[in-house]
Amino acid sequence: MNKNSNIYQIVYASVMVLVVGVALAFIYMALKPKQDVNIANDKRSQILASLHIVAPSEGELPATYEKYVTRDLLVDREGNIVDSTRNVAFEVDMKKNIKLAEADRQLPVLECTLDDGSKKYVIPVRGAGLWGPIWGFVAVDADGSTIYGANFSHEGETPGLGARITEDEFQQQFAGKQVFKEGAFKSVSVMKKGQVPSNGSDHVDAISGATITSRGVGAMMQTCIAPYEPFLKKLSGATANPS
């Protein structure tokens, strides 16, 4: 057979694409359930990481999550709780949520109770890094202002540079920072080492060599936490005068 005839080439290419396409679709379908479980568990471990909790083993992760994350909340822009069905906040797809117009976005909060009985509120954040999306979870104390912990993840930031936002060294800087300064919302800024933000907000050191990813983290903290301002204010009011 003439291997360079047009017919042979077209048939060869079509058969090849069909075989590869079917094989990939089959593999995708077969592995999808397992992948979904992994992805959900990964989200749970990220939420727990923002509370400085590590599940004892992968198998115990769902149980650990159930133990500490005690209530799912959806809040509105006035800071009122509109929904507290189990897992309603966990299941908010931030990827889709962040694409909506700002007024249409859902505002999920995870209420967590630690071993010592103190309550923490975990807020999911999502933004853009240099190459792709970055996201994370920020745990806020019951006073509505002090950050208890933060955990960040990314899809494709440069290894050794932007990807270092996932490292403890960077994340630990956020603990103890305030998102309110004298009653006004001022998100934590990410600044080049040695520089101080002009608006007087708390700040952490950026990663050298990863300016755009670091800026992305700062912007993400600002835009994603700002809508929660009324909710956080209510929290601080509730702890200041217990009624």
Binding site: Y28, P159, G160, G209
Partner: protein, 208 residues
């Protein structure tokens, strides 16, 4: 199993015919993933696997491939393999897949793959092609690890994430060299390795 020719296919790429140092292939990923040691090692393992299997598959179907569309066929095989590897990683070893994220895509564009498929797999039987894939993958990994070793050590003062430069060095004014983290230093490091390599292997030096 290991005739003289097969041995050459397996061991030549480690030094005399190294894909990075001599064939100058796969430079882009050498720059991208060598800022620290761990991703370099993981990337090396992934390339060895994909290179070996795509070599075998292309070698198996080499008599049926129409020469005019052979590049497309090779690309489809490589891309399909990479996607399959990625899907399995996500399903079974999620942590590893998170670390690999971008590198998986980089494997498809790695010139070593197309280079070896064109130069070797198309004209050889599956077993030698498999050995050639393993050999070239190892040769590539070796360079990646050497470059990453120096970049991580001098740039961050760590190896595999552990601090190796003692604190008293910093106390006495030692600073990590931030320049080592940036891609240009990977090129310079590779160039230094090529320099040493050619100095030791006189027959590789170009005469003009």
């Amino acid at each position: 199993m290991l005739s003289k020719k097969n041995k050459e296919a397996l061991f030549n790429p480690l030094s005399k015919d190294n894909p990075v140092l001599v064939q100058i292939l796969g430079i882009c990923s050498t720059l991208a993933v060598t800022a620290s040691l761990k991703p370099a090692i993981v990337m090396g393992i992934a390339v060895i696997a994909v290179l070996a299997f795509s070599n075998v598959i292309i070698s198996l179907i080499r008599t049926t491939i129409p020469t005019t569309i052979r590049i497309i066929v090779q690309l489809v095989v490589v891309a399909a393999l990479v996607i399959i590897v990625q899907q399995f990683l996500v399903a079974y070893t999620y942590d590893v897949s998170k670390q690999l994220s971008v590198f998986i895509g980089l494997i498809i564009t790695n010139c070593i793959l197309m280079g070896r498929l064109e130069a070797f797999a198309l004209n050889n039987r599956p077993w030698p092609a498999f050995l050639d894939g393993i050999g070239n993958g190892l040769g590539y990994t070796a360079i990646l690890v050497i470059v990453a070793f120096f970049r991580e050590l001098l740039g961050s003062g760590t190896l595999l994430g552990c601090h190796v430069i003692p604190q008293w060095c910093y106390d006495h004014g030692y600073e990590n060299n931030g320049l080592m983290i940036l891609p240009p230093m990977a090129l310079i490091t590779v160039a230094c390795i090529i320099w040493v390599h050619r100095a030791r292997n006189k027959e590789l030096q170009e005469l003009n």
